[in-house]
Amino acid sequence: MNTVVGVKKEKAALAKVNKRTKHSLQSSLWWMYLPALALVVFFILYPFLNGLKISLTNWNGFSQTFDFVGLKQYSRLFKDPDTWLVVKNTLLYGLGSTLFQNIIGLLYALLLNQSIKLRGLTRTIIYLPVIISPLIMGYIWYFFFAYQGGALNDILTAMGMEKINALANPEVNTWLIVFVNTYQFVGVAMIIYLAGLQSISKDYYEAAQLDGASAFNQFKNITLPLLMPSITINIVINVIGGLKLFDVIVSLTGGGPGNASQSMSTFMYDLYFNRQDAGYAATEGVLMALIILIISLSALLFFKRKEVEA
């Protein structure tokens, strides 16, 4: 009898202790994330929301007074031919770089996944530009493309041809920006594809070889489907990176000639600091956030679905 009571008491006490620790383990420890939350709210969320407000005004960026003009800046945005030029460039930078980085990055990965000579060194060299500031990478390529004393024109002159001013030519300079951005970040795509390739079991290929499948068919039916997760990651990060492009444009063309190679981010900078058009710049910022959001989310969803199917 006594022992039963004892056990019961013990159990009750234990339950009490358990309840207490369980309860305390459930406590949210909110103070641990408070500093981080405060910083992000203050420096990202608050400005973002405030930007929505400024986009409804005609504020010039420095005066104390301004008027709320409703959606006027937005209707101006849609009528402004510069908007479409800049959006077109931004899409070229985002989608063009993504296309090239992925095709070339995948080819590099396929090559450097073979056991060939100079494999490690080549990987290092391809990856090196990733850690260099995009602004400075732009200057480095500027030495190549510059009209006056650029390496490209040195070759053309030596071959008796006329010098070209590629960076000032609006027909080609946007593509040169895509080219430099691709050159700089193709290493990221390569590394992610290499990791993807190495995670594919050799058994699949052995079985396919026994069935007499051609190299191309092996690539199409084994490599590509199993690489889908890597493709998703690469596409999403390259699209976001390309749509935000800023530094390389500053150092290669400065957005010129005129607005010809301007992206949304350099254009926004220009509107705010050089044209005192803060309300309009904020509107441009809202549009840019929307475009990045829509494109990156649809890319994510589209390729995620492919992954499931594969």
Partner: protein, 276 residues
Amino acid sequence: MEKTNRKPKLFLSVIALIIALYHLVPFYILLTTAFKAKGDFSSKWIFPKQFSFDNFREAWEMANLGQSLWNTVIITFFSAGLLIILGSLAAYPLARRTTKANKLVYVFFIAVMVIPPLTALVPLYQLVVDIGMMNTRTIAVLNNVAAYLPLAIFLYAGFIRSTIPKELEEAAKMDGANTLSIFFRVVFPLLKPVTASILIISCVYIWNDYQFAIFFLQAEEVKTITVALSSFFGQNTSNLNLVAAAAIMAVAPMVILFLLLQKHFIQGLASGSVKG
């Protein structure tokens, strides 16, 4: 089998060599340009007969590289340190205490990752002016920390969920006055691999940052290396040899670190980009 493989292997090695050389072209041009004396307009494809280090000396002084390198070091150091401390602290409860509030806060951090901070440039600039922090290294640190905290928290939380045993916190009684010290003595050391990744990601991004720096660090005494270089370029467009020398000195620290710690760099940066 081996023999038939050799020829295509050799062919592939040659292709790899060509690709490597192509990727080195801009760096080669950078070197030949930087070592040519002022006014030497010979082809950029050949090195000068006499290597001139004058460009480096002159660029170092004219572009104020010493001061701007120091500013960059300070900003990178404090930003990365704060990111590690605040990020790991924040991720712990978000990964382990799944109360409703915590879930919401976590979703908020992830959602913020989608907003490029630059799209809020106008109001952010205004905010910085209002709180009187224009042209201070502090604002560069705070901006960078806020920009990369969501990513740091995301990486830390994922790591904590997948690798830190739950029993640990039960044993260590993570509640009460000494939670902080237990966190830093027991949990934090176990986060070393992900801390290394975050450290590398944030150092590379923050060291190379131009978008924030150009807006908030315009004064000579707070300029970072990228801002110093862009204004130096603006003054010397007709003297690219000087700019090339400055560019080499600007990228040298990061390039040397990369070559020394290559594996960690590639691993760290890859894990950071896998946030999608």
